[in-house]
């Protein structure tokens, strides 16, 4: 296959991420500034190196109404006057879609270097937060009155996947175990100090919504990250090994989950096929996968839909330890949202940052031989799908 190489050979040239945790002294407006401070400390770029800015809304996951003019505030804060700039939101898919928008802008000559920023707060689910989020993500009249809330809505996908494809309950637990094993290797992972997990620990944890127990759910926290997308030529000046954007695709299925086209697939495969087609590579070329894992069913479903394993084989993949350290296709090598932490509005950043670090050779103790990495994120209740392929060579 031949690659339809993107004009300008856009690449990620720098990434920086906050340590996931709680930042009680920062409000939603302060979080992106904290992320940018971290980025400026780590990435050696100045105001003249950036002529594009993409940023997520502030305060959305906190459920108190989102600020959609963050880009204007950050322009002033950074002292920049970009040619390409907006606040964009596609939920968890926001950041891979920022990468694709930045690549398209670079290819079209709208910008040369786009700084992409995400920061998030996450309400405490035990203090009315679960109800506030349930109101936000459900149809107010046709879902919310039935007791819909986030874990239960993902459980609808899990139950259907289990019934249709024979995915066993143990396989969901194996996903959590796999993610924890990786988290033990990441110095910033929220659950690193909690030690390893076993399948039994997951199965014995408190039931939330069948088939999910507490340890099938990602860990709410706060954080964020920033990355710079530039023309390949410029990226090579900034870093020895950029992460080239080989291909990307997206697909937008339902609004409310009641209208999902297919509960066993959630429409995830369409974006992956588009990304492979643009990159001119196939699933067998992928060395590692970072798959948005709000709950343990997600990596199973997404592995199958991205074509990395056959439909119905995703559960067995994790039971066989193939995604874990030492496995043949490492999955969520930073610990995933399950064990690294789910940073509210910024959650979709972590898996893209990790894929970029692996491709750039910056993953330290957990560094793998990663020629090509796949990232799949989604927004809403597995509604907005986005797949990005990163590689060492343009």
């Amino acid at each position: 296959m031949s690659s339809r190489a993107l004009d300008g050979r856009p690449a990620i040239a720098a990434v920086e991420e906050l340590r996931p945790g709680r930042y009680p002294d920062e409000d939603a407006a302060g979080m992106p500034e904290l992320v940018l401070r971290r980025f400026l400390e780590g990435a050696h770029v100045g105001p003249d190196d950036v002529d594009g800015l993409l940023v997520c809304p502030a305060g959305m996951a906190a459920g108190r109404g989102a600020d959609i003019f963050v880009h204007e505030r950050l322009n002033d804060a950074l002292g920049i006057r970009p040619r390409f700039c907006e606040t964009i939101n596609v939920g968890g898919a926001t950041y891979t879609i920022m990468a694709s928008r930045a690549a398209l802008a670079i290819g079209a000559g709208l910008a040369d270097a786009v700084l992409c920023v995400g920061a998030g707060k996450f309400p405490k689910v035990g203090r009315g937060g679960a109800d506030a989020m349930a109101r936000m993500i459900s149809h107010p009249d046709f879902e919310y009155p039935y007791g819909s809330f986030i874990p239960a809505l993902y459980a609808l996908a899990a139950t259907r996947h289990m019934a249709e494809r024979g995915t066993p309950r143990d396989a969901l637990a194996a996903v959590a175990v796999c993610s924890r094993d990786w988290a033990l290797r990441h110095p910033d992972a929220l659950m690193r100090d909690a030690g390893p997990l076993t399948t039994e620990m997951v199965l014995d944890s408190r039931p939330i919504a069948w088939p999910f127990n507490l340890l099938d759910c990602s860990v709410p926290c706060e954080g964020g990250a920033a990355f710079l997308v530039t023309r390949g030529e410029r990226a090579r000046e900034l870093t020895g090994q950029p992460a080239y954007l080989l291909g990307f695709g997206e697909f937008h299925d339902h609004g409310n989950i009641s209208h999902a086209s297919n509960f066993a697939t959630m429409g995830a495969g369409v974006s992956a096929r588009a990304a492979f087609d643009m990159a001119g590579v196939s699933p067998s070329d992928v060395d590692l996968a970072e798959l948005y894992d709000a709950f343990t069913i997600n990596p199973i479903l997404l592995l199958e839909e991205t074509g990395l394993v056959e439909p119905g084989k995703g559960g067995q993949f994790f039971l066989d330890g193939r995604g874990a350290p030492g496995g043949d296709l490492p999955v969520n090598t930073y610990g995933g949202l399950l064990s690294f932490g789910h940073t509210g509005d910024a959650s979709g950043m972590s898996m893209l940052i990790e894929a970029a670090r692996q491709v750039m050779g910056e993953a330290k103790d957990r560094q793998l031989d990663a020629e090509i990495a796949l990232v799949h994120t989604y927004g809403g209740m597995m509604a907005d799908h986005s797949t990005v392929l990163l590689g060492r060579a343009p």
Binding site: D131, F142, Y146, G147, A152, T159, A163, F263
Partner: protein, 134 residues
């Protein structure tokens, strides 16, 4: 104990809830393509036809998928409860609770029929397994 949520009536949905309060399950049906849709809206999502009529579907369907909730989002919901997506015999899908049975009785594919649960001055459609004797 907080009262469970009551739907808000809008121009497109008022009749749906008012009929439910009277024990009737009605849906908009497109006069152009003949299909029912859920939830009610200002046009047909299948053909974009705008000539709609309210009609009574069979009120029967199957459980497309479900979960049993053990930790509710708020104290308004008594656990355990079954949260399901029902595929109606006429095609549309909708969220509901499966009631009048034990959660263990619910599976993917369980045949169900509509029933109604009072909420404030209104009622919301719910589903129970066909043949349920509770």
């Amino acid at each position: 104990m907080t009262a469970p949520p009551v739907p808000t009536l809008t121009a497109s949905t008022a009749l749906y809830w008012q009929e439910a309060a009277a024990g009737r399950f009605v849906l908009p049906r497109c006069r152009a393509c003949g299909r029912f849709h859920h939830h009610p809206r200002r046009w047909c999502p299948y053909c974009w036809g705008t000539d709609l009529a309210w009609e009574q579907p069979s009120g029967r369907g199957t459980v497309l998928t479900y979960t049993v909730v053990h930790q509710p989002p708020s104290p308004a919901f008594a656990v355990p409860y079954v949260l399901a997506v029902i595929e109606l015999s006429e095609g549309p899908r909708m969220m509901a609770n499966v009631v009048d049975c034990s959660p263990e009785d619910v599976e993917v594919g369980t045949p169900v029929e509509v029933t109604f649960e009072p909420r404030g001055e209104l009622a919301i459609p719910q589903f129970r397994p066909i043949g349920s004797t509770r």
